[in-house]
């Protein structure tokens, strides 16, 4: 059962990738959050009315005005990238296993993810 062993190893590596990715994203979000709290000490907040805070993947340079918000945005984008990276990893793992069916399945999911990311106006 060579394939089962390969699958096991692949799932183990996927788990590691996910955990490290979440740890990294959470660290960036904590940093940005602390910076924001220090900047906006004592201000009032309300989310009763929807104003909207667009975060664009295509123009990361013009994320937001202040540094702390930009750090928070980067942390959130990193987090969203984690499961996408997992699918990308699966694509190469299935390719290495010469499992064409699941290489195609992975490519299809990746295509849907990229489509959802970019064609979203």
């Amino acid at each position: 059962m060579g394939r089962a062993l390969d699958d096991e190893k692949m799932e183990w590596m996927m788990g590691l990738l996910l955990r490290l990715g979440v740890l990294l994203a959470a660290t960036v979000v904590i940093t940005g959050g602390m910076m924001y709290l220090a900047d906006h000490h004592g201000t009032q907040v309300s989310y009763r009315k929807f104003v909207g805070h667009p975060i664009s993947v295509r123009h990361p340079a013009e994320l937001t005005g202040s540094t702390s918000l930009a750090v928070l945005d980067v942390g959130i984008l990193l987090l969203v990238a984690v499961p996408i990276a997992r699918v990308g990893f699966a694509l190469f793992a299935f390719l290495a296993e010469r499992d064409w069916l699941y290489t195609a399945v992975s490519a299809l999911i990746l295509a849907v993810l990229v489509w959802g990311m970019l064609r979203s106006g």
Binding site: E11, M14, R48, H53, P54, I76, V80, I84
Partner: protein, 278 residues
């Protein structure tokens, strides 16, 4: 409310939501959205955005532990992810045009359904004859039986399960939840996959499903980073803590209490949506 107070309270509430979600297996989103909208008067769209991001974090953060146990099936998961991601993009498109009142009512119905589902048992009769597609699609597998051996299983009614997963994806994209309850239903009840394999594979799929609609939520401005930061960190830590105490907790009693709470929240969401107060 002052920024510091608001952030601290949202963090504590999200921690509790994440812990309850992990303990009951329903996920953090089902408690989080009523908490934010009913408790903190957050606009439904911000609540959905914050929930979606936290769902990605908990699904990905918990995956490593499930993988180690050897229950999740990566092929079943990825085959069905095609359906859930397509559904999620469709759901997120609908969410952009649906009024928040309608979203609140749909969410309330999902809560009531989850409450009912979390109380019902999960036993299903095995398939009459093995489905040949289970082998062809490489979905047959085995899982540890708890006595050092392995139990083999096959997958049945793949097309029906796939269609159900498309529906789960739409709900996920529409409401910013993991919709783990519907995913488990599709795998456990329709495809006759063992319950343990269903729940762990469902968790494995949730992050990718949520990521599919995240792009649309981000560009539409639903993800406010100042709100998302305490929600995300709270739910993530709460879920990890919940998973740790899961082994020792009296899950039966907790499930019953939680089902009642979720049912009550469902009724309140429907009532508020109906009267246009959200």
């Amino acid at each position: 409310m002052h920024l510091e107070t608001f952030t601290a309270l949202v963090f504590i509430g999200s921690f509790a939501a994440g812990m309850l979600g992990a303990l009951t297996g329903l996920g953090g989103g089902v408690v989080l959205i009523p908490l934010l909208t009913l408790g903190f008067h957050v606009d439904m769209r911000y609540a959905i955005g914050a929930s979606l991001i936290s769902v990605i974090a908990t699904s990905s953060g918990a995956a490593a532990a499930y993988v180690r146990e050897g229950y999740s099936n990566v092929r079943i998961g990825m085959f069905l992810e095609v359906a859930t991601t397509l559904g999620a993009v469709v759901g997120a498109f609908i969410a952009a045009y649906a009024p928040t009142r309608a979203l609140a009512i749909v969410f309330g119905v999902v809560l009531l359904y989850s409450a009912w589902l979390s109380r019902s048992r999960h036993d299903h009769e095995p398939a009459v004859e093995p489905n040949p597609w289970s082998e062809k699609l490489g979905m047959s597998g085995k899982y540890p039986d708890g006595h050092g051996g392995w139990t083999a299983y096959v997958v049945d009614r793949i097309a029906a399960g796939w269609a159900m997963m498309f529906g789960a994806g739409i709900l996920s994209g529409l409401l910013g939840i993991g919709s783990g309850a519907v995913k488990v239903l599709a795998m456990d009840k329709i495809m006759r996959i063992p319950f343990k394999v269903s729940t762990t594979t469902s968790n494995f799929m949730i992050g990718v499903t949520a990521a599919a609609s995240a792009g649309i939520y981000l560009t539409r401005g639903y993800v406010d980073p100042v709100l998302v930061a305490p929600v995300l960190l709270g739910v993530l830590l709460g879920a990890l803590f919940g998973a740790k105490v899961l082994a020792r907790a009296r899950v039966r009693l907790l499930r019953t209490i939680f089902a009642c709470v979720i049912g009550a929240l469902g009724v309140e969401m429907i009532a508020n949506g109906w009267m246009g107060r959200l």
